[in-house]
């Protein structure tokens, strides 16, 4: 391997010297143009270092562009592409040279010239490309034709109207019948690129077309295969057997070594499954998807990460995939943190009664690692598993208590938060561990953990002997606490008073006064007044509301909503699947994708359709119940109004934590909208890694 020696050229050059070097040898014996080459290299090196003085050399560069050395020419072209926008009027002088090169007898030269020409965002360049491009689309050489195909997409990027008013797109369509597979896949990629940015163009692929492009798949490069597979999601099967056949024909691609081919193939298969009615075919396809997904875990960490994020997605849509593979997601000690965190989420999703012991041992191991963020997530996962898998609750709690015993402050705090949720899920079962929690009060310094502990004290004020002392300790620092903690303190004090009026009677007025008079937080103030009135007007009703039954909670907060899930499955392998957020919230200008109607579409199996049906059922029932209520039970009114009051006050916090809608509406809750633990802080998010900015914060449009 002969390695270049050009590193020394990275020195800041002066324009005058370089100009001299570039031109001095003109006419003299510079056989291999070696002096020019070195001068050009220096200029390119300076360009790379953003030394924008180089722009002054533009006329000289054009001077040497035609000297006959392909190496020098390539460097001149690079310079041209880089600086043409800065000096369009000078760049124009290069146009005749490029146009001339388009007619060169060497196909590599024609392609190079065309590629360069179409990179220059200057009106005259774009306009002059149009006519020769039409010829080059029919060039005898396939290499030139594929370059020309991409060139159409480039022109479209420069000037939409120009392309739309020409017949270029029709010509591009004709290229789909080219004999060369690379040309076909390039034309397809160009068409998809144009379609992505156009409102007026529709891309339709019928079965005959789809079948034909699938046939040439094996003859395309790995990238060509990816472009073709991407295009296949624009084919709308009209017949369920067509979809099955096509899916079957592309499954061999799952064994490809390029992960782009594999993931895009998975995308197409998932897409086609929506149009297949035979359950056997579906489950056979599902079983073919797991092994390639797992195999991607032996790729580089970045691809692993992408594969794992997509596994999270696919699992929600097709739970059969990956069902038996939990062990492969156990973390390796050296996995990068982003891989570990995503594996943890998958382990949580795949955990079941069958493998819970194994999972808990594993999570227990993670909880002793060094990365604090990861440890916290592991602890949180254990707590959520207690809620998700009821028979395993006891085992999870034992594991949590072991962790609390380590006395590591952030582990204790995280455990406190999840244990609070366990109490909510299983009232009157595990309260014996309260004493263990109380031993660790001093290590709580985070608002969320404090609020959780305060909730426990308030809720179980009658069982904790010294509840009023514990609460008083927390109240001492009232003024320094966050609103989250203050809200918890307010409610806990009222609960204490209701359960043990003698102990709480001194505290309540004090806290109510603080909450109503010494705060500028409206939530806190409103809640304070509300308690005040409730306690003073109707103590019995107050007890019913404050200590009322709470709606059930679930641990399934990671689940995407059905519509998003459907959309995400159409873009498997893309950036949006890394964020697991609807495409338009991450990329505003992206073209939305939706499942297209067709006689073959298996509507009743779609998550969104199922959700809609359920919602409809629910509203019907609710209507019926409303009627029943207005007719009968007058006593429900008070509570309902109270509910409405809290609902309108909007604090989701409240709905979750304290004021369970009273018994009548709790019934609604059971049927449909279960309350969810820790919404917004669930395992499903990787907050620190994401800097997605929505709205107008487009940092990068300078």
């Amino acid at each position: 391997m002969s390695s270049g020696q050009d590193a020394k050229l990275f020195a800041r050059g002066k324009v005058a010297e370089l100009r001299l070097e570039l031109n001095q040898s003109a006419g003299k014996k510079d056989k291999n143009f070696s002096a020019k080459k070195i001068a050009m290299k220096k200029i390119v090196a300076n360009m790379t270092m953003s030394n924008n003085d180089m722009v002054a050399l533009f006329p000289d560069i054009i001077g040497v562009m035609g000297v006959g050395s392909i190496e020098v020419k390539k460097m001149c072209f690079l310079y041209l592409v880089n600086y043409a926008r800065a000096k369009p009027e000078v760049a124009l002088k290069a146009l005749p040279i490029l146009l001339n090169d388009l007619e060169d007898s060497n196909p590599l030269m024609r392609a190079l010239a065309l590629r360069t020409l179409s990179y220059v965002h200057v009106r005259q360049f774009v306009e002059s490309t149009l006519a020769p491009l039409k010829t080059l689309l029919k060039d005898p050489d396939p290499y030139v034709r594929k370059t020309a195909a991409f060139c159409v997409a480039k022109l479209y990027d420069h000037d939409k109207q120009l392309v739309e008013s020409s017949d270029l797109i029709d010509r591009l369509n004709l290229m789909l019948r080219d004999e060369n597979p690379t040309v076909v896949s390039s034309a397809l990629a160009a068409l998809m690129d144009i379609w992505e940015r156009s409102e007026s163009i529709k891309l339709t692929i019928d079965y005959a077309n789809a079948s034909k492009i699938v046939q040439i798949l094996p003859d395309c490069s790995e990238w060509g295969q990816t472009y073709i597979l991407e295009a296949l999601t624009s084919y709308v099967p009209q017949d369920t057997s067509e979809a099955a056949l096509l899916a079957d024909r592309i499954t061999p691609r799952l064994s490809h070594t390029n992960s782009a081919v594999v993931l895009t193939c998975i995308r197409v298969i998932l897409y086609l499954m929506n149009y297949i009615d035979d359950q056997k075919v579906i489950s056979s396809l599902c079983s073919k998807l797991s092994p390639p997904l797992v195999t991607l875990l032996s790729k580089g960490p970045e691809i692993q990460y992408l594969a794992l994020r997509n596994a999270l997605l696919i699992l929600q849509r097709r739970p059969d995939v990956l069902r038996n593979d939990i062990r492969v997601f156990f973390c390796k000690y050296n996995d990068p943190i982003y891989v570990k965190v995503t594996k943890l989420e998958l382990i949580f999703m795949l955990a079941s009664e069958r493998n819970i012991r194994e999972v808990l041992t594993e999570l227990r191991e993670y909880a002793t690692e060094i990365d604090v963020h990861f440890v916290r997530k592991s602890v949180r996962a254990i707590g959520k598993l207690a809620i998700k898998i009821e028979p395993a609750a006891k085992l999870c709690i034992t594991t949590l208590l072991e962790l609390v015993a380590t006395k590591v402050s952030y582990i204790v705090q995280e455990a406190t938060v999840v244990i609070k949720n366990i109490f909510r899920k299983y009232p009157n079962q595990y309260e014996s561990i309260i004493s263990t929690l109380c031993e660790n009060l001093d290590s709580l310094d985070e608002p969320e953990a404090k609020a959780a502990m305060i909730w426990v004290i308030g809720q179980y004020a009658d069982r904790i002997d010294n509840s009023e002392t514990l609460l008083e300790d927390f109240l001492d620092s009232w003024a320094d606490e966050t609103h989250e903690v203050q809200l918890a303190l307010l409610t806990a004090t009222v609960k204490l008073f209701i359960q043990r009026p003698t102990k709480g009677q001194e505290l309540v007025p004090k806290v109510l006064k603080w909450a109503t008079e010494e705060t500028d937080n409206p939530d806190l103030r409103d809640r304070g007044y509300m308690y005040w009135r409730l306690l003073s007007s109707n103590p019995t009703a107050a007890k019913g509301i404050v200590m009322g039954e709470k709606p059930a909670i679930t641990a399934e907060s990671e689940k995407l909503d059905p519509v998003t899930l459907e959309e995400m499955c159409l873009v498997v392998g893309t950036l949006a699947t890394v964020y697991l957020k609807p495409v338009h919230t991450v990329f505003r200008s992206a073209r939305p994708r939706r499942l297209q109607e067709s006689p073959a579409l298996q509507k009743h199996t779609l998550p969104s359709w199922q959700a809609a049906q359920q919602a409809k059922l629910l509203t019907d029932q609710q209507k019926a119940m409303m009627v029943a209520q207005t007719n009968g039970a007058a006593n429900g009114h008070v509570l309902d109004e109270a509910d409405a009051l809290f609902a309108s006050m909007g604090g989701r916090e409240m709905m979750q934590d304290d004021f369970g809608p009273s018994s009548s509406s709790a019934m609604h809750g059971e049927q449909g909208s279960m309350y969810v633990v820790n919404q917004g802080q669930g395992l499903g998010q990787v907050q620190p890694t994401m800097h997605v900015q929505n709205g107008d914060g487009d940092l990068l449009s300078f």
Binding site: L78, Y143, T182, W223, T257, A260, P291, L306, F330, Y333
Partner: protein
């Protein structure tokens, strides 16, 4: 920095530098700011970054970045800051060729080397037969040149397996699997059609089709009578090189292909069943009070006594506040490496069926802030020839060529440690 779309600005490089390189908080290879996404990988001392707008195919971006690095390595020997600086013009040239408008083009090293070469002179000469090059770059056989001639036709096959193991502190195997690769170096003339035969019974996945390929029962290295010795292997999944006819593989599991010239990776596979673990590790680690940790480690070689592993390295983690260690080994050398917080035990040659032990003590210095030790797992490195953990065997490699020449084939097996970890 090379922009392939007109909505990309040179200043994006600065944005990346500020937002990713000098930001310790970043913990993901993907960063989206506004509608612009930076996807990066690291290689030696450089970041290779792909910048995109919109919801692009992320797998494609990373595969391309990997490809760029491997191309760079094949061109310059390595791909680090020095190599990029020393060959920057060539890097630009390559980029221009393999990426058009942000779409990856032909990235086959073989083809690219026909017209983009490190010796500047050849690029002029190559222009003469450029139409041959263009056919190559767009043809179905983009990975192979025409008219290759060798005096001696040879093919070397290396089966290389990375065996991964994770054992819990109580000794249960949490995870044992194999990532294997079949690497080939083909020096064959003309357009040879190769057929590759693996174990007599090759099973793919849970409900994949069993295909019997016939032939004698194979045995290698005298490993114990396992399922492998009976000639069957179960592969969880395989990925095959671009040159393999995937349709014939999915029909009847035959691997037939026209190989690229020179070395390439024919296939990678994964096996999780009947994994033969080369080493069994027992470790007893006791924390004696706050000042001392005692280790007793025994490693036994499970493979045949005629085989031996080389470069065996055992990394035994010690607490962060280790002041001093003492150790005794029955074979090899052990040394405390403060920078790695571990005792490194090296055994140059580890014969099959033998067992070696290490006992050690780590003395700890007193710490004011006593934190529990996270006890990272013990890990092993080794390489072992003529052994496959999965039991995979190459039964035959047939070469058909219209000139009907005879060819010599060589097969070699090697098992290495992937992530071989034992918790304690």
């Amino acid at each position: 920095m090379r922009a392939f779309r007109q909505d990309m600005r040179p200043r994006l490089a600065d944005v990346f530098r500020i937002q990713v390189i000098s930001n310790a908080q970043i913990r993901s290879p993907i960063l989206t700011l506004g509608s612009t996404t930076f996807s990066h990988i690291r290689n030696d001392n450089i970041y290779v970054v792909g910048v995109s707008k919109g919801n692009v195919n992320s797998a494609l971006v990373f595969e391309f970045l990997y490809k760029l690095v491997s191309l760079g390595k094949s061109y310059f020997g390595r791909f680090d800051e020095e190599a990029v600086k020393s060959n920057f013009v060539m890097v630009y040239e390559l980029l221009d060729e393999i990426l058009d408008f942000g779409y990856p083009q032909n990235t086959e090293t073989e083809t690219l080397k026909m017209y983009i070469t490190t010796e500047g002179v050849r690029s002029e000469r190559a222009m003469e037969d450029s139409s041959k090059i263009t056919m190559q770059a767009t043809g179905a056989l983009s990975w192979r040149r025409d008219n290759i001639k060798y005096r001696k036709n040879e093919a070397f096959v290396d089966v290389i397996e990375d065996v991964n193991l994770l054992v819990s502190a109580s000794g249960t195997v949490l995870r044992a699997d194999v990532n294997g690769a079949i690497e080939m170096r083909a020096y064959l003339s003309g357009t040879p059609e190769c057929k590759f035969g693996l174990n007599d019974r090759l099973t793919l996945g849970e409900n994949g089709a069993d295909v019997s390929l016939g032939g004698a029962i194979g045995n290698l290295g005298g490993n114990k009578a396992s399922k492998a010795a009976a000639g069957s292997v179960t592969l969880e999944d395989v990925s095959l090189h671009q040159c393999v006819k995937l349709s014939s593989f999915s029909n009847d599991r035959t691997i037939s292909f026209i190989p690229p010239d020179g070395s390439f990776q024919l296939m990678t596979y994964r096996a999780t069943e009947n994994v033969n673990l080369p080493f069994k590790v027992q470790c007893i680690v006791n924390e004696v009070g706050k000042g001392k940790v005692e280790y007793s480690i025994a490693i036994r070689a499970n493979y045949g006594s005629k085989l031996f592993a080389t470069n065996v390295v055992v990394k035994i983690p010690t607490p962060l506040n280790t002041a001093n260690t003492t150790h005794r080994t029955s074979q090899g050398k052990a040394k405390y490496e403060p920078s790695e917080n571990a005792i490194i035990w090296k055994i140059a040659r580890f014969t099959g069926q033998s067992e070696f032990v290490l006992s050690a003590e780590a003395e700890l210095s007193a710490m004011t802030n006593q934190r529990t030790w996270s006890r990272p797992p013990l890990s092993m490195q080794f390489s072992l020839l003529m052994f496959t953990s999965s039991g995979l065997l190459v039964r035959y490699l047939k070469v058909f060529e219209k000139n009907n020449y005879s060819s010599v084939k060589w097969v070699r097996y090697m098992t290495r440690a992937g992530s071989y970890e034992i918790r304690f």
